[in-house]
């Protein structure tokens, strides 16, 4: 929807002669080039037109002030820290930047070691100072096709200050004197919304801080909880269905992991909806690899909370099973194993058929990592016991592909693993195994025959369609056929005329 970055241009700048031959810049080279511009700041992208920041001078130390002056000085320092500096420009305001850094660091110290400093009037000052420093529209990514797995992230240029602001805010929230009832006037929905937007920051250090901050806020402000969850849902939905771009998915899932942990039983409909409408579709995302561990943790948490969810979850995963991405398929297999580790035997019975049909397909995958990952299930004691218990159902599903693969997979490791699995299955139920071996050929032939019948049916249907179109000139999106019949008609006319 939004194509905000200009089309990736031809790569620039001088390149060594060795590249003259193939012309394709290697990733390492591109990376090296990019490193130069790797510091971005959204607040002062181009400073030329901006007024210079006012100079700030150091105030006396808080610890040297008398207790009566301390409060006033604290407020002054908070206000002083609202002055922003341009970190793109590495030469100007050096002294003021250092003053602000020292002040911030003093403030961090002050709120973490002193009691009784959080009196009511400081709350709005703190909120203003934090908002001014951290809330901003994130800049466009330096690299339009930023690949979080491969590329170095763009780091926030003003981090020397920003880190201390986050640190300070965190100490403020964790201070034993902190009063949510006072703070809620400042840390409100709008505040949280802006905080959530920052999860898209490319700088992992910043996301780490925001994660902790949001977690504290979620813990202390009961009134904001539903709102936070809803906004996170919106972010995920936008990520899944609209932009496929958001840097902080893993961090948000980590928070959710601990939130899900605290859900009361029975689960509210809202939470179940979150599982089915958001967590499961999140598996379709292109960048799944970046947050799969956290996502699988959340899913398993849900199943552990409420085992009756197993069936819908597994069916959901099967629906979104990757078609072409083997790397993702391996992740899915990993997640299914995690689910099977905690599954209740009664739940297992409900999903065994569709699940093992998929596993059977994976075992037969020409990609050896997928096949291998699926075959590893047979090393899992608990899964093995479930298979054994239900072998009459599972064996017929698995047998055909295993038998075929044991003869024709290209990878010797897979063939060896398949032999072991076949052996295990044979030991479970040798009678059924023999029957399946005996009927293998017949089954294949029956499948072939069925396939032929299908083709025959479609041939007839297509003929009928052709007939209809030519006889009645009946056109419903089959324009090509009408033209064809017209050609025939013209041919006939021609023949008649001559």
């Amino acid at each position: 929807m939004l194509s905000a970055s200009p089309a990736p241009a031809l790569e620039m700048s001088a390149i060594s002669a060795s590249e003259k031959v193939d012309g394709f810049t290697r990733k390492s080279v591109r990376k090296a080039q990019r490193q130069r511009g790797c510091q971005g700041s959204s607040q002062f992208a181009a400073s030329s037109s901006r007024p210079a920041a006012p100079e700030i001078s150091a105030l006396p130390q808080l610890k040297d002030a008398s207790s009566t002056e301390q409060h006033e000085l604290f407020m002054q320092k908070l206000q002083q820290c609202c002055v922003m500096f341009d970190f793109y420009d590495t030469v100007t305001d050096l002294k003021s930047k250092e003053t602000k850094r020292a002040t911030l660091s003093e403030l961090v110290d002050y709120v973490s070691t002193n009691r009784g400093v959080l009196v009511d009037p400081v709350y709005p000052e703190i909120s203003t100072m934090v908002s001014t420093n951290i809330f901003r529209t994130l800049p466009p990514s330096e690299n339009p096709d930023f690949d979080p797995e491969e590329d170095e992230p763009t780091l926030e240029a003003s981090w020397p200050h920003m880190q201390l602001v986050y640190e300070f805010f965190l100490r403020f929230l964790e201070n034993p004197d902190f009063q949510p009832s006072t703070a809620k006037r400042y840390i409100d929905q709008k505040f949280v919304l802006q905080l959530l937007e920052l999860f898209d920051s490319e700088d992992p250090r910043e996301r780490e801080f925001i994660k902790t901050v949001l977690h504290r806020i979620y813990g202390k402000f009961l009134g904001l909880r539903a709102f936070v969850r809803k906004q996170i849902n919106n972010i995920f939905l936008r990520y899944i269905y609209e932009t496929e771009h958001f840097n902080g998915v893993a961090e948000l899932l980590e928070i959710l992991g601990s939130i899900i942990n605290g859900f009361a039983l029975p689960l509210k409909a809202e939470h179940k909806q979150f599982l089915m409408k958001i967590l499961i579709p999140l598996h379709t995302a292109k960048g799944l690899a970046l947050f799969h561990a956290q996502l699988a943790y959340c899913v398993v948490q849900f199943i552990e909370k409420d085992p009756t969810l197993t069936e819908v979850v597994v069916r959901g995963l099967l629906k979104f099973w990757p078609k072409t991405c083997s790397q993702k398929e391996v992740m899915f297999l990993g997640e299914i194993e995690e689910i099977l580790d905690v599954i209740e035997p009664t739940q297992f019975k409900k999903i065994q058929e569709p699940l093992f049909k998929q596993i059977s397909k994976c075992v037969a995958s020409p990609h050896f990592q997928v096949a291998e990952r699926a075959l590893y299930y047979w090393n899992n004691e608990y899964i093995l016991s479930l298979i054994e218990e239900n072998n009459a159902k599972i064996l017929p599903i698995m047998f055909g592909n295993l038998y075929r693969i044991s003869k024709e997979h290209w990878n010797p490791t897979i063939v060896a693993l398949v032999y072991n699995v076949l052996k295990t299955l044979m030991e479970m139920n040798s009678k059924l195994f023999d029957e399946l071996t005996a009927s293998y050929k017949c089954d294949r032939q029956r499948e072939k025959k069925k396939e032929q019948e299908r083709e025959e049916l479609w041939r007839k249907l297509d003929e009928l369609r052709l007939q209809e179109t030519s006889e009645r000139g009946f056109d419903s999106g089959a324009g090509g056929l009408t033209i064809l019949s017209n050609v025939n008609l013209r041919k006939r006319l021609w023949r008649g005329a001559t």
């Binding site: 241009a9 031809l10 992208a45 049916l457």
Partner: protein, 616 residues
Amino acid sequence: MAGADSDDSLYPIAVLIDELRNEDVQLRLNSIKKLSTIALALGVERTRTELLPFLTDTIYDEDEVLLALAEQLGNFTMLVGGPEYVHCLLPPLESLATVEETVVRDKAVESLRKISHEHSPVDLEVHFEPLVKRLASGDWFTSRTSACGLFSVCYPRVSSTVKAEIRQHFRTLCSDDTPMVRRAAASKLGEFAKVLELEYVKSDIISLFTALASDEQDSVRLLAVEAGVSIATLLPQEDLEALVMPTLRQAAEDKSWRVRYMVADKFSDLQKAVGPEITKNDLVPAFQNLLKDCEAEVRAAAANKVKEFCENLPEDSRETIIMTHILPCVKELVSDTNQHVKSALASVIMGLSTILGKDNTIEHLLPLFLAQLKDECPEVRLNIISNLDCVNEVIGIRQLSQSLLPAIVELAEDAKWRVRLAIIEYMPLLAGQLGVEFFDEKLNSLCMAWLVDHVYAIREAATCNLMKLVEKFGAEWAQNTIVPKVLGMANDPNYLHRMTTLFCINALSEVCGQEITTKHMLPVVFKMSNDQVANVRFNVAKSLQKIGPVLDSNCLQTEVKPVLEKLASDQDIDVKYFAQEAISGEFSTIILKYNLHRCKLMTQHYVTLKLKKQKT
């Protein structure tokens, strides 16, 4: 329907439905894609009573399958019995319009929009409009998003009470709780405004537009920009200032770069929509700001619009505005820190010369062109060179040629072969503009150097380039300047270069004509048939086939054929193969020529006969 009775036994619905339920997704998908065939087999009545209910009930499948289904149903009107029954298609499409996956939903909405036109006004109110209302008040955001796209198709054809309801629903969705729905509403706002009566545009749409344009989410605000442009085209000039301009002005200065980018991107449309007066007073300063924006993305988007913006300025003040307001910003952009910005500018800046005329171009623009021709980024230089024709018309290319040459030479030797390729493609154009003398003196050697490039794509482009040059400068020029050099390469120790000679001959024989080909090229090709590298030999066979049509039949028979026959008994299998190919190809041309010859003779004969008859 004819034959429908006998079909019952042949195509029981169960079998067909089995196909739609096949366990293999791919097969299921294939079946759905041929849903119209199935419907045809069932006939219109059973399609309505059996197939559609089945489809409606079983909508839980892979998104891929649902997408195909949504698309099919849009073309189903005739298959359910024509417009009279088209409303039968609504239930399955309604469910599809509530699916999570955006592509499926969008396709369902597209199909719904399509079939809405096939509804009679009565059916539209009885069946279609209630569906829109249901979607608009759905629980989950997906149905509400889909509803946004349906209002505009039914609004013009319903009664005024229903119209009022539709407006109300749209209003509700514009302030929906979820940003997804607000985004959908914002993106359809312009379209909806177009079908509304002007009084409601003023009373309803403006307030919705203002609200969406100041939404808390920038993803909503940026969509409102586009709507703003559409709305501005609908309003009479005197209302623009009060109703849309404050909001648009605010969008141009939005704190989110995405919104500003959108304004820059839509700037030409906006300019046309608001007319000359507002352009002069408001848009010029706004455009200046966008060109100086702190985010490179925004500057690049604005730079892209420089030419169009200047072109569309009101004529009476165009030159003054450009000279005093736009040009200073453009000058700054020439030395921007971001290469995308510079190359965006380079792709349009030449267009300014036609607007400003000769004197201004020479005085003000030329220095900028020259600076960009020396830019460190090859794309900037390329963009300048590729638009030389605009300048050529105004001041002639000579003004530039001194600076052009070093730029071309540098690009011609760029490390990136794609850059080299791009400059080769402009060579014929440049040659035409610079003239043969300049070309021979400065560029000819470059063109020849490309023939021995490391990269095949460059060598290939270089041969093609030679052909185009000959088309421009003529066969005589070719014979004097390039043919000797090309043929000289036949003795190169590197077999790849020897092959290049053959490729050049393939390309040049036709434009050079029979004489040069027979006299100069053919002997060299014959000589190469004894090359020790098999690849060269089979390319000789291929070349002989290619240039055959240029040669006369006598030469083919007496000279070419023996050489090919010798190659056909070569020890290398590929050489043999291509020689045989060439012989059969060659013969067919010979036969063709022979036949043509006979035809000619016969006509002559016929004509003489006729003449004789007339005489007698």
